[in-house]
Every structure is written in structure tokens, then in C-alpha cells.
């Protein structure tokens, strides 16, 4: 049975698109046929992060309106056979994502894919609600920072009341906390909320901690999901998070400050 996973946060700029791209690629690397959908109508960016911006011909809205069929709009990733990108439209009509249309497309995607990753827009408006409505699982992307934690709490409440599972009185959407842009050195100095603090405040299970890492910007610069960068701490942390999502036990890495060896410190190599 196909699973729909929404990547959401309430707040903007916390790493939803980076996470959607990394998580989709991570699931594909694990052998699961996965599609990642951009729900941010009018502010399309997943195509850039996935490096397929020049291959977009048809989009989500075209498929909903019947101007193109699903397979014309799906873009097959060049790095992995299991990975597909479903771009959104650049239209300024925010209400172009009609729920019935989205539902029809979702049902069609479920026939073809094991995992459907929905990259939500920021906010709690129509686009964000549509992105989370069909979800079976939710990844709550949160930065260790007050406004992000507050907005995450809000979106967790919305998942519990406005999702299709909530409306139909089915088992609730299973929510997972993904803490991103984590800086263990600043946490050690008491300058940043610690992972346990955020976990305690939001009281949802922790899926992973992604360290603040230069490799994330490098990945988006080049249009490569960060999990493909095997040297990147953030990439490895995402690989761990995907494994945990699939039911594996993995210890949390990158949550304590990195100890620099004497020689490294001496010669300044990070």
C-alpha cells in the first residue's frame, strides 16, 4: 500500500524542500519507488533543488485540469531509476489546487509508487492544508529556534484536526520530528535549544537531527539532493532518518560537538 508523507513546518525557510528532496532520494536509494510533489503553487522550487528545472514541461495544475496526463508531467530523476519529480505550476492562482483534483491525482500516483512525498508550502493557508490533507505520515521540519517550534506545534494541531484521517475518524497521521540546522557547539554553550528540549516541548517522536552544514547550500547550488553527497554530515544524517522511518534502529549522530583532533586543529582542516 502506497504511503503519503507530507513534509511540513508552518514556518518558512526551515528546510522543507531540502528535506523533501533528501528524503525522496533516500527512499529511492533504499529501493523504494518514490515521487516527490511540489505543493507550493506559484513559488516552484523543488525542481531547482532536484536539478530538473529545465525539464519541466507539464505540471500539477495541468494534470488536475486535464491538459496533460500524469506520465507526461512526471520527471524521472537522472541519478536514480526509482525517483520521480512532480513539479508544480507557477500560476498566481493560489486556489488552483482543487481538493477533488488533487485526490484524483493522488489515487493515480498510489497505483505507481510506494512513497509519495508532499513538499508543503509555508503557512497554514490553502496550499499547506491541501498538502497535508491526504497524508498518512508527516515530517515536521523544525529549527531549534522559538518561532519555528511554535509554528510546528500549530501545524501538529492542524494535522490532528484538518487532515483526511482526522475528518474520517481514522487512525491519526503519524507525526515525526526532524530537527534541522542543528549546531551542537552552540547547544553546548547554551545558545541554542537542545534536541531534548524541542522533543519535550512538542512531544512527538524524533526521526532525526540534521546538523547545520555547508553541504546543504552546496547541494542546492548544484541541484543535487544532499543524500547523494556521501561526505556530507547532513547527507548522512538524512540517510539515517530515512532508515529510522523504515523501522531501523540507528543511533543519533551529529548531536554532540565534533572533537577536532590535535593535528586537524593545528593544520586547520575541518
Amino acid at each position: 500500500m502506497a504511503k503519503v508523507i507530507v513534509v511540513t513546518s508552518g514556518k518558512g525557510g526551515v528546510g522543507k524542500t531540502t528535506t523533501s528532496a533528501a528524503f525522496a532520494a533516500g527512499l529511492a536509494l533504499r529501493g523504494h519507488k518514490t515521487v516527490v510533489i511540489d505543493f507550493d503553487v506559484g513559488l516552484r522550487n523543488l525542481d531547482l533543488v532536484m536539478g530538473c528545472e529545465r525539464r519541466v514541461v507539464f505540471d500539477f495544475i495541468n494534470v488536475i485540469n486535464g491538459d496533460a496526463n500524469l506520465n507526461q508531467a512526471l520527471i524521472k530523476d537522472k541519478r536514480h531509476d526509482n525517483l520521480f519529480i512532480f513539479p508544480t505550476s507557477q500560476t498566481r492562482d493560489k486556489n488552483a489546487l482543487k481538493r477533488e483534483g488533487v485526490e484524483r491525482v493522488m489515487e493515480e500516483l498510489k497505483q505507481q509508487f510506494e512513497y509519495i512525498i508532499c513538499d508543503s508550502p509555508a503557512g497554514i493557508e490553502h496550499g499547506a492544508i491541501t498538502a497535508l490533507y491526504f497524508a498518512d505520515s508527516a515530517i515536521i521540519v523544525t529549527n531549534p529556534e522559538v518561532s519555528s517550534v511554535r509554528d510546528s506545534d500549530r501545524i501538529i494541531g492542524i494535522l490532528a484536526s484538518k487532515s483526511r484521517r482526522a475528518e474520517r475518524n481514522e487512525a491519526p497521521v503519524d507525526v515525526h520530528l526532524l530537527l534541522t540546522r542543528y549546531d551542537p557547539a552552540r547547544v553546548a554553550k547554551g545558545e541554542m535549544l537542545a534536541v531534548d528540549d524541542v522533543k519535550e516541548i512538542l512531544s512527538i517522536p524524533l526521526l532525526g537531527v540534521i546538523p547545520e552544514s555547508e553541504s546543504v547550500l552546496r547541494a542546492s547550488n548544484t541541484g543535487t539532493p544532499v543524500v547523494f553527497d556521501e561526505d556530507s554530515p547532513a547527507g548522512r544524517a538524512y540517510v539515517d532518518a530515512v532508515a529510522r522511518y523504515l523501522g531501523e534502529q540507528r543511533e543519533m549522530r551529529f548531536v554532540t560537538p565534533e572533537r577536532r583532533s590535535f593535528f586537524r586543529a593545528l593544520f586547520g582542516r575541518a
Binding site: V146, V149, G190, A194, D197, I201
Partner: protein
């Protein structure tokens, strides 16, 4: 200066301040977001009914749903302006009911 400040003014770290503030604001927001949808309507209708008998202002009514232990309580608090009663009855400054 900086030296003396760090010596004599132990600074609470900002992460623990953040945690404390978040706990307080979220406790408040969760309580209000879990209130059922009918409360505003109930409040309006009560205002209309009670307003037929005594003078009350639009913001003189407070309806809250709470729970303690195994029981839920609906608390309705109505302030009567200056104790003015329109059609007889007991004149009080507050009418309170718990269901």
C-alpha cells in the same frame, strides 16, 4: 568592563529562556485551539437570551470549557452592568453557572 560583567552578573543562558517562554506560550495556545467550535455561537446566543432580562455588555460574558480529572465543566460567567435588572428578579453583580 566585560570582565567584571561576566564575573559579577551570572547570565542565564538564552536557550533555557527560550524553552521557558515556549512552554508558557504553547500551553496557552493549545488550550485555546482545542476549544470546540460551538463556543463563540453559544456565547452569542447566551448574550442574547440573558440580555433580554438584564443589562449586559458584549464583552461581559466568558464561556470556557475545562476538564479536571474525569469530568468536563462548562463555565459561564456573565457580568451584569451595575446590577441593572430589566424585569425584576434578584439583582446581583455576577451570574455564574456550572454545568
Amino acid at each position: 568592563m566585560g570582565f567584571f560583567r561576566t564575573l559579577f552578573q551570572p547570565k542565564r543562558n538564552s536557550a533555557s529562556i527560550a524553552k521557558e517562554r515556549l512552554k508558557i506560550v504553547l500551553a496557552h495556545e493549545r488550550a485555546s485551539s482545542r476549544a470546540p467550535d460551538f463556543l463563540p455561537t453559544l456565547q452569542r446566543e447566551l448574550l442574547a437570551v440573558v440580555g433580554r432580562y438584564v443589562e449586559i455588555s458584549d464583552d461581559g460574558i466568558r464561556v470556557t470549557l475545562g476538564s479536571s480529572g474525569g469530568t468536563s465543566t462548562l463555565e459561564i460567567n456573565i457580568e451584569i452592568e451595575g446590577g441593572k435588572v430589566k424585569t425584576g428578579g434578584p439583582s446581583g453583580s455576577a451570574l455564574s453557572a456550572a454545568v
